[in-house]
């Protein structure tokens, strides 16, 4: 080998090796540590960078990132907000990887129920002392409580919305359902069961339209039971005495009712394989009268598809028909009061391996508040058809045009008034155990129940046994 070639090849080998080592060795504290370091130097209003991992919360949310970053720096000249976009599919995995590597972003958008998952790791950042009284006072008390776990405040809420069900107005009227009355007064399971029976349309042995289709596969696997159970006297996984609630007899009644709707032929027997996309497609193509879960923003999706049909736009959903989305409450089960499944998503604050300084904490709180209030929140809420939950965003929303129907708006407000209250008293350790029980036992058994491979009684016994194994006989409700 010639001397020159040897030298070049060796240099190349060393550069590659050094590259590998440095790529792995550097930056493992992520933006959080970098920001923390900047903040830890003390002395005055120093420059600081706050990182945020944000999914496409609403239609134009991610398109506005540059503008949001610029406006934040305009408001706080010494601070930089650095937003990393993520898809909904990647969001959890990306965040979990960063959290477990000890270098999460300062802020991540997620459901408030996920906070309990991160508290035992010590990686979420309590901003109770960093948030100013003005910030706290801006939020409605109800949604803000969802961001608490124990005494700690772990971010600010972006919106509070209801996960209910939704019907197609022409089909509801065709089936003789007084949907306006239902929106205001709700319905019991028996009333609902009869209504969805009327919604079924058959041609010979083939069902052309189901009365009710709820997504139960994929990412929605927890939704069905999670939403229904709140209306069966179990608004949370634990009762007020912190006993696991899903061992109650009402749970068995609910499971029985779930199976009855399939056996009636009102729901497809293949329900366990229907995912979110499929059931929305079934709604838009007229294959179901009522769909779940339903959110207020679906009215907008339905309207947009109608517009495409009118314009003969090829991007309209294939074989879709014009639909008129009506917000409906989930029926109540076992004679229990209806409790709406309220969801609070928000900007959760995280910390890295290094202890964050008080100054950096305050800066993160400022960034979280900036995203959760004022103009940013007003725009996001408007796109999602969800009511503002801060005074500042209500003010910013004045004059913004809403295309939500007055009936649906009133129905959502009514549902929010019956929403399950936040439960910050549930210890994170109990919450984590309940999540594991739900993932490992309840969801798989529910899939089997929907597929007709187990009975409600057997599933109830399986869940009860697993719950007693997890929480002890004294830690579960025995009625």
């Amino acid at each position: 080998m010639k001397k020159r070639s040897r030298f070049a090849a060796t240099a190349l080998a060393l550069v590659v090796s050094a590259g590998v080592v440095s790529a792995c060795g550097s930056n493992n504290d992520g933006g959080n540590a970098a920001a923390g370091n900047t903040g830890s130097e003390g002395a005055g209003a120093k420059k600081d960078t706050i990182t945020a991992l944000l999914p496409p919360v609403s239609a134009n949310f991610q398109a506005n990132f540059n503008q949001m970053e610029a406006e934040f720096t305009k408001q706080y000249p010494n601070l930089t907000l650095k937003i990393e976009p993520a898809s909904w599919e990647d969001m959890t995995q990306k965040l979990d990887t960063q959290v477990n590597a000890g270098s999460p972003p300062d802020i991540a958008f997620m459901g408030s129920e996920g906070i309990s998952k991160y508290v035992p790791l010590g990686m979420v950042m309590d901003i109770k002392d960093a948030a100013t009284p003005e910030m706290i006072a801006d939020f409605d008390e109800g949604p803000l409580k969802y961001m608490y776990n124990g005494d700690g405040l772990y971010g600010f809420p972006a919106y509070m919305e209801v996960h209910a069900i939704g019907g197609n107005k022409p089909f509801l009227e065709e089936a003789g359902i007084d949907w306006k009355k239902v929106q205001q007064n709700g319905w019991t399971f028996d009333e609902f069961r009869e209504a969805i029976k009327k919604g079924v349309v058959k041609e010979g042995n083939t069902t052309k339209r189901y009365g009710f289709v709820f997504a139960t596969a994929g990412v929605t696997s927890k939704d069905y039971l999670g939403i229904l159970v709140k209306n069966a006297g179990m608004p949370a996984a634990f009762d007020k005495d912190l006993k696991y609630a899903y061992t109650s007899k009402n749970y068995l009644t609910l499971l029985t009712n779930i199976r009855q709707m399939i056996d009636d032929g009102s729901m497809p027997k293949e329900l366990s394989s229907i995912d979110a996309g499929k059931r929305w497609n079934m709604f838009l193509t007229g294959q179901t009268m009522i769909t779940g879960k339903g959110m207020a923003v679906f009215e907008n999706s339905s309207r947009l598809n109608n517009e495409k049909i009118d314009k003969n736009d090829g991007s309209a959903v294939k074989d879709s028909i014009k639909t008129d989305y009506v917000v409906l409450p989930v029926p109540s089960f076992a004679g229990q009061p209806a409790v709406a499944n309220s969801i609070v998503d928000g900007y959760v604050t995280f910390r890295g391996k290094k202890e964050p300084t008080a100054e950096h904490k305050a800066n993160v709180a400022k960034a979280a508040y900036f995203l959760a209030s004022g103009q940013v929140a007003a725009t996001t809420n408007g796109e999602l058809f969800s009511a503002p939950i801060t005074k500042s965003s209500r003010k910013a929303a004045e004059g913004m045009e809403s295309k939500q129907s007055p009936e649906n708006k009133a129905a959502v407000e009514h549902l929010l008034s019956t929403a399950a209250p936040a439960r910050p008293d549930i210890p994170a350790e109990l919450g984590a155990k309940a999540i594991k029980l739900e993932t490992e036992v309840i969801v798989p058994k529910l899939q089997a129940l929907l597929a007709g491979e187990t009975t409600p009684e057997k599933m109830y016994e399986d869940v009860k046994k697993a719950a007693i194994d997890t929480f002890g006989a004294d830690g579960v409700v025995q009625d």
Partner: protein, 302 residues
């Protein structure tokens, strides 16, 4: 003095010859191996004895291993993985071998075209392929596979949502995709068989099947063993199909060990437990590979 002179001479030789340069080049692969294979394995081994937390882990001894061995779900997922392996690997080998035999007599350009076509799924994204398969397995009557079975008067099946058909659906997916690599390896091995064997067999009046039995199969034994061992290893590590197609359901009927490890680590944040599960899986794979070499590799020469 003599030893000193010898040391200087050796050093001189090392610097003068290509040895030092060779070490420098090996260093690249070694560093990559150390960073991305050895380090994670050692880390997993250490973590398997810990209750892992990003802000400080604690030593828990053998608790994680005890938890793995006592977990009925772990053994169920191990059973599912073994079943999946038994149903997929031998069929994959037979299909690959059959296609390779069919391709062999073709002209060179035809061989290349078929090899490229069969290799295409390996190039395509697994996620994209899964989306297509989800479409095929649509549970309603309008689903592609349901329309096909409907021709035979069978009612629509809940392919991925029922325990009776979910594992079969994943196996079918495996049967009908990604044999490209094995086909290419088999074709290369078939081309490596000396034509004098076939000539001698022709002179002796051997039939096609006799040539297959007495020439092709023995000559391909090393290739088959290699594909069997790598196939079993790959099958034991299967994750993507179950994760994307069924999520392990219904009722854990398609939960494979790989998926269970993922869930344990990223859904429950029990990294110590997940590390223990993955090391037990590695041990099982090592034992399986050893058994295969022990019983099938006796008369194989490389």
């Amino acid at each position: 003095m003599a030893r000193e002179a010898s040391t200087i001479k050796t050093k001189y030789r090392l610097n003068k010859g290509d040895g030092a340069w060779a070490y420098a080049f090996i260093a690249v692969a070694l560093v990559v191996y150390a960073m991305f294979t050895a380090y994670p394995v050692v880390s997993a081994f250490i973590i398997s004895f810990q209750d892992y937390k990003p802000l400080g882990s604690s030593y828990v001894g053998l608790d994680n291993y005890v938890s793995v061995f006592q977990s009925s779900l772990f053994w169920k997922s191990m059973g599912n993985t073994v079943l999946y392996t038994v149903l997929t690997v031998p069929v994959a080998l037979m299909l690959s071998f059959g296609v390779a035999i069919l391709i062999m007599p073709l002209k060179k350009w035809m061989q290349t075209s078929f090899k490229a076509i069969y290799y295409l799924p390996a190039v395509a994204s697994g996620v994209a392929l899964s989306v297509v398969w989800l479409w095929i397995f649509d549970p309603l009557q309008s689903g592609i596979l349901n329309q096909l079975v409907g021709v035979f008067g069978i009612s629509n099946q809940n392919w991925l949502g029922a325990s009776a058909t979910s594992m079969f659906s994943l196996v079918l997916m495996s049967w009908l995709s990604s044999h490209g690599t094995s086909i290419i390896i088999y074709v290369a091995a078939l081309l490596g068989i000396d034509s004098s064997y076939y000539e001698a067999a022709d002179i002796d009046g051997a039939s096609f099947l006799q040539k297959m039995w007495h020439i092709v199969l023995p000559c391909l034994k090393p290739t088959t063993l290699f594909l069997l061992v790598t196939g079993v290893i790959g099958s034991f590590q299967v994750f993507q199909n179950a994760y994307l197609m069924t999520g392990g359901g219904p009722d854990h009927s398609t939960t494979m060990v790989g998926l269970l490890i993922f869930d344990t680590a990223f859904k429950y944040f029990e990294f110590g437990n997940a590390a223990a599960q993955s090391l037990v899986l590695a041990l099982v794979i090592a034992v399986m590979a050893f058994i295969q070499f022990k019983f099938l590799g006796k008369d194989v020469e490389y």
